[in-house]
Symmetry: C2
Subunit: 228 residues, 2 copies
C-alpha cells in the first residue's frame, strides 16, 4: 500500500521538529518544507532544517525525504517585525503581555497557503505545523481557532478532490511537555535552534530562548545547545 504523505512545515526549531517526528512515527511519508524569509537567523535555521531532515530518516534506511527550501523575499519588504527589520531591536527583557514586536504579520497564513499548494500538487493528505498556543510568544497565527479555520479555507479554495487535514499536535502542550516528549522520542534536540538573535551561541534572553530554557528547566533536562 502506498504511504500517505504529510507536508511538514519545519523551521529548525524544537516544536516543528517534534511535530515532524510525530508524523514520521505515525507512518507518513514526509515532505519537509522550510522557509527562508530574511529573518535574522536565516542561515542557522536552514542548517538546522537540513540536519534535522537528514536525521529524520537516517541514511541507509529505505525512506526518502522530499524537501522544499523556499525563499520568500516578501517579509523583508514588508518589515514591521524585529525578526526581519534589523533596525528594530529584538526584546530581551522578558516576555510581556500582548503581541510582541517579533510578530511577523500573518506569517503562518502565508506558510500554510504555500504548504497547501505543495500538498495539492504532491497529493498529500496532511499538513503538520508545530504551533503552540498558550505557552508561547502569543502570536495570533498560532491559535487553534485560526488553524482550524484555515483548514476549512484551504479545502474550499482547492480542487474538490483535494482534502487536507492540518495536524497541530503540540498546540496545547507546555514547553516542558514538548521537551519531555522530544526526549522520549529520541529527537536530536542538539540540532534545533530557537534563538531569534544569534546564529553562533544562543542569546538566552530573547523571548524564544526564555521559553525554551524554561521548558528544559521545568522538564529537569539540560538543554544540549550552547548559550552565550
Amino acid at each position: 500500500m502506498k504511504k500517505k504523505k504529510a507536508v511538514c512545515i519545519m523551521s529548525g526549531g524544537m516544536d516543528s521538529t517534534l511535530s515532524a517526528y510525530m508524523m514520521r512515527n505515525l507512518g507518513y511519508e514526509i515532505i519537509a518544507v522550510h522557509f527562508n524569509y530574511d529573518q535574522r537567523t536565516q542561515k542557522k535555521e536552514l542548517e538546522c532544517f537540513e540536519s534535522i531532515a537528514e536525521a529524520l530518516y537516517p541514511k541507509g534506511t529505505a525512506h526518502e525525504i522530499k524537501k522544499y527550501s523556499l525563499d520568500i523575499g516578501f517579509f523583508k519588504e514588508l518589515g514591521a517585525s524585529a525578526l526581519t527589520d534589523t533596525s528594530i531591536d529584538v526584546p530581551t527583557t522578558g516576555i510581556e503581555e500582548g503581541v510582541p514586536i517579533t510578530y511577523v504579520p500573518f506569517r503562518n497564513g502565508i506558510f500554510l497557503s504555500m504548504a497547501a499548494a505543495i500538498a495539492e500538487k504532491e497529493g498529500a493528505e496532511v499538513i503538520a505545523i508545530g504551533v503552540v498556543e498558550e505557552d508561547s510568544s502569543g502570536y495570533p497565527d498560532c491559535r487553534e481557532s485560526y488553524i482550524k479555520s484555515m483548514q476549512q479555507s484551504i479545502n474550499l479554495g482547492t480542487k474538490d478532490e483535494t482534502n487536507i487535514e492540518i495536524f497541530m499536535p503540540l498546540v496545547h502542550l507546555k514547553k516542558s511537555q514538548i521537551v519531555q516528549e522530544a526526549q522520549k522520542l529520541h529527537i536530536p534536540l542538539e540540532l534545533t535552534w530557537s534563538c531569534y538573535k544569534n546564529e553562533e551561541k544562543a542569546c538566552g534572553v530573547c523571548d524564544s530562548c526564555r521559553l525554551r530554557l524554561k521548558g528544559f528547566e521545568q522538564a529537569g533536562i539540560k538543554d544540549p545547545i550552547e548559550y552565550e
Copy 2:
C-alpha cells in the same frame, strides 16, 4: 477625517481593474498590490498594472497610490500549471468542464495571505479581489464560499485589533456585465490584459481570451486591445 484604506489585488486584467476602480469610487485610499510569479505573461501584466495604477489617480490630483509589486518565485518552483510551466501547453481549443491545467494551486490563497499581511501592517480595513465565480475558468480559489472562509481565517490569524473585510464585487457577475460596468465607469480597458499566452497581441483562443471576447461580444462593445 482620514480615508479608509483598501488593499486591491490587481493582476492587470479587466476584473481586478474594475474592482479597484469600484473601491476608488467608494472613497477608499488604494494600496495596489501586484504579483509577479514567473507566469508566461509576467512582463505584460506588470506593465498593465503600472499603467492602470497611474490611471486610477491621474497625475495632478491630490491622491497618492501606494504600490507593492511582489516577486514570488514559489509558483515556478512548484510548477503543475500551464501558466508557470512552459512545458505544459496552454489549452486553446475551448473551455471544458472541470478545473483546467491553467489552475495554479491555491494561488489566491497565497495572494490573499500576503494581502492580509500588508493590510495588517498598513492598517487597511478592506482587501478587494476581482474573483468571478460562475462565468470564469472554474478555479476553486475564485469561489465566494472560499473567499468568505478566508476572511474569517485572516481575522482569526491576525491581531485582535486587525479587522479585515474582503470585497469581491464581481463574484456573481457575467463577463458581459463586467464589460458594461467598466464602460460605465470609464475604465481604460485598453490598458488591461487577459491573454494567458502572449504579451504582444492577445491569442484570442486561450480560455481567458475566449471569456473576455465573449463578454465584449455579449455586451455589444468592441474590445480595444489587439488580437492575432
